[in-house]
């Protein structure tokens, strides 16, 4: 029996029903691909914003600094860790951290001071690009600092203005110095916005009397290395220091992103359930209206597997066309959404749980976006068609030929 030829003709025998089934499958696949691209893009952007703006993939601390931050709890030999990290391909940057007060002529506010190695920091964070006004730090300008947007507002200072910072230095003396604001950041996260004062590391060391050591090393993972594997590798290189991934540092955000993925999965499930029911109905009708025909096939010696193969081939043809149409239709949509994106700033807040995110929601447009929706569609199709195919395959010829 020429299964494919018969299947092809059978598909077009009831053109309207086949086209409806193919259209429904194509539409579902199109929607799934667009939604999948958009959601994956959104979640990836959120994760990237969290990692690239402030936190990094992994952070290294000395002792209990993370729980009990103290200017005295430092990683004493940062080069002994940064060197091996560099060698292993992990971009990393050390930071000095302290807390105190920032004041202007108008007012004062609590502040967090961040001493950064400008060159190294650019490898782990894109905060240097998030400048709303002025410029990022320059090692040649030791008195110039960059402050958060909220702090600038609280202190009513602009680029070129001066702020006085006050704290207790590591040697027990009073740390105070006047700095010029050379840049104001865009919104990059609630804590940074409200309190951050970024300065060059030598400036920080001079202000806080910290001659050596660092408080934190921020690490990024190389392309293609998964976070848990990276964490294990960095832990081995930084032992016995404390090593935490961003998911451990921001568990609420991490679990939000996981839940969002779960929600996307649920939407997928609903869509595919509907498609599965439609397909089941369509194939059941196709089988029941031809039940006498299957009886004849069985009577003249066609085996059950051939009958099943015929139904599966009919479904495969419809699914193949639906895959082609769904994918073809999704390509321009995904291209547009991945380049222009959707600006959600007008609809929703772009910060959540202390983290700020890009307001432009861009779709992910990579081959991986196609694999899950297509695989799930194929599984749904197989499950939906199995019952009618089995029914047709094992039907008794007499019962089938007497069917009215």
């Amino acid at each position: 029996m020429e299964v494919f030829k018969m299947a092809w003709r059978n598909v077009w025998r009831n053109r309207r029903r086949s086209l409806t089934t193919i259209s429904a499958m194509s539409f579902a696949l199109l929607m799934m691909l667009l939604l999948s691209g958009l959601f994956e893009g959104m979640l990836l952007t959120m994760e990237r914003d969290i990692v690239e703006l402030e936190v990094g993939d992994i952070q290294i601390f000395a002792g209990d600094y993370r729980v009990n931050p103290s200017i005295y709890t430092r990683i004493q030999e940062p080069d002994g860790i940064l060197g091996p990290l560099d060698d292993a391909g992990f971009p990393a940057s050390d930071r000095l951290l302290a807390f105190g007060l920032a004041a202007s002529d108008e007012s004062s506010a609590g502040a967090s001071f961040r001493g950064v190695d400008v060159e190294r920091d650019a490898r782990v964070s894109r905060v240097y690009r998030e400048i709303e006004a002025g410029h990022w730090l320059d090692p040649a300008d030791p008195a110039g600092v960059v402050i958060g947007k909220g702090l600038a507002r609280s202190l009513s200072v602009e680029v070129g203005g001066e702020i006085l910072v006050l704290s207790q230095a590591a040697d027990g003396t009073m740390a105070y110095e006047l700095y010029r604001v050379r840049g104001v950041l865009k919104s990059v996260g609630a804590a940074v916005d409200r309190t951050a004062v970024f300065m060059n590391q030598p400036t920080f060391r001079a202000l806080m009397a910290v001659p050596d050591g660092v408080h934190q090393i921020i690490v990024r993972r190389p392309e293609g290395v998964e976070l848990p594997a990276a964490e294990i590798q960095v832990s081995a290189l930084a032992s016995p220091l404390e090593v935490k991934s961003w998911r451990n540092l921001l568990p609420t955000l991490a679990s939000y992103l996981d839940s969002a993925r779960g929600m996307v999965g649920f939407i997928f499930f609903i869509f595919y359930l509907a498609i599965g029911i439609l397909l089941l109905n369509s194939m059941l009708m196709a089988v029941f209206e031809r039940i006498r025909e299957f009886g004849v096939l069985k009577a003249i010696g066609v085996g059950p597997l051939s009958v099943m193969g015929l139904i599966l081939a009919e479904t495969a043809i419809q699914t193949g066309i639906a895959l082609f149409c769904g994918i073809a239709l999704s390509l321009p949509g995904l291209y547009y959404l991945s380049t222009a994106g959707v600006n959600i700033a007008a609809m929703a807040s772009v910060s959540m749980m202390g983290a700020s995110f890009s307001p432009v929601w861009k779709a992910l447009f990579t081959p991986s976006i196609f694999s899950a929706p297509i695989s799930v569609l194929l599984v749904v199709v197989v499950v939906a068609v199995l019952y009618p195919a089995t029914k047709a395959a094992w039907i008794q010829p007499i019962a089938a030929m007497e069917h009215r």
Binding site: E293, I300, G301, I398, M401
Partner: protein, 229 residues
Amino acid sequence: MNPSVEVENVSKIYPQGETEVRALNGLSLAIQPGEFTAICGPSGSGKTTLLNLMGALDKPTSGEVRVDGQRLAELGRRELSHLRRDRIGFVFQAYNLIPVLTAYENAEMVLRLQGAEEGDRRDRVMAVLADVGLSGLEDRRPDQLSGGQQQRVAIARAIASNPAVVLADEPTANVDSDTADRLLEIMEKLNRERGDTFVFSTHDPRVLERARRVVRIVDGQIEDDQTRA
């Protein structure tokens, strides 16, 4: 030589609610190769049941059916399917052609299932289509053929593989009398010239007139069995 089909002391009982219907009651019959036999009888007498048993489409409640000497009770589902494919041809009252296949493809189907070579298939199908008077209509689909032409395609499909017996269930019931005559002429000619064995279940007096053996069944038993010279 083995009979083409042999039924021996066959009974078939169908449960119907709390009662039973005895469709065949200890019936025995042998169809020899080359016979042109009509089985007749009133409605409900067991004609179609007998044909279904002879065609390995159903199993008897008791008794034995043999096709070409092969005991059907010994065969599994797969072997029965192969036996129907290789040794039995079917002609149904409602033609029962595959609507998406052409006349040629319908007639060719059994040969394809048997795995016959393409050249051999073509020769045999073209020959049987010519035998049933359908040369030139090979590429037509069933919906482009008249009822009589469709039944001729069904006959071609049934005989293409040279089965031991062709079982025809009321083959003239759905066609007008001229077409019925033409169909019977074709089947008679095939029987005479090719030696194809035909067994009809029928009410049609035209079939009974042409049949060389007429078996009359009443209440699941043979009431009369006459062979004409």
